[in-house]
Symmetry: C2
Subunit: 201 residues, 2 copies
Amino acid sequence: MFRLYDFLPSGNGYKIRLLLTQLGIPFERIELNILKGETRTPAFLAKNPNGHIPVLEIGPGKVLSESNAILFYLSEGTPFLPSDTWERSQVLQWLFFEQYSHEPYIATSRFWISILGQADKYREAIKQKREPGYAALTLMEKHLTHHTFLVGECYTIADIGLFAYTHVADEGGFELTKFPAIQAWLERVQAQPQHISITQG
Amino acid sequence: MFRLYDFLPSGNGYKIRLLLTQLGIPFERIELNILKGETRTPAFLAKNPNGHIPVLEIGPGKVLSESNAILFYLSEGTPFLPSDTWERSQVLQWLFFEQYSHEPYIATSRFWISILGQADKYREAIKQKREPGYAALTLMEKHLTHHTFLVGECYTIADIGLFAYTHVADEGGFELTKFPAIQAWLERVQAQPQHISITQG
């Protein structure tokens, strides 16, 4: 059985929980509290020297890290990843956008404000994340104004990857009221079969 | 013919130039000077609303952004991308690592120091990039101590993706002398057929 090293509040971990659930694949979830250094132990660093969750353990010594690479691994050969090279590449384009231009602003702000509960301590850093975070949302809004889902008008791992931190952007201080196309898309994603919330382990 | 929107000093652009050259695919290179706002024009933003190079124009209205997604698109069905799902996922793991844990520290420091030539202005920011940048190099060093290339003991787009900014890490103030396994790997990458340098358009 797959073993998922995870931290419940993590959007990156949630991506994998959500996809595994929607694929109907059973898995064992190992909760590691990143706030208590549980991802910095020698045992965990042997699995992922980067010290980040999620990590998917597929078998003895066979582990995969980087949430979006795990999404790709699990969705290969399923309707969650198109088989066409051009569409697959667009899925990856969105997933790289997520890790470079979205997560470092929106997820990081959420971490400081809602996970650590230290908005005051990180006030200046949070301020610097505002503009690029809203730029990422604006780019999504433009695209979703003309599209049902991010790629090929189908629900794919691109939607799962971007949904994870977008739907809790308000926990990072980002107002979604100005983004009607994003809000409608969030509802379409939440209406997919076997959808689970971020708080469900 | 493919059209590549590019900026010669960019490691992200270099990844695509290098792969296209090694695949023997002719392409037209459009140089945009990011320092002069040439990626912020309405015409370019219509191609990539993110305003980043590289962008690969495949045909009218068919454009792909995100350097590592472009690498995936071009290498599908070639020896530069394994066909096995597990190996492909490991390639993606390295490429997501590159964009999240390597590029934001090493490439950004190089940009401030060697492209903008403003080491003094960005002194404090550069200092903050030191530790995570060296952590990324240390992780690579550990892996390359036991491996010829990053995935499957073959030269793949994972190596191209990580080579781009690692081989010019010194231009960002990162000393590679402490990383003998990385240095030997850089030489193996440079010895591949049809290798070109970052300054070759």
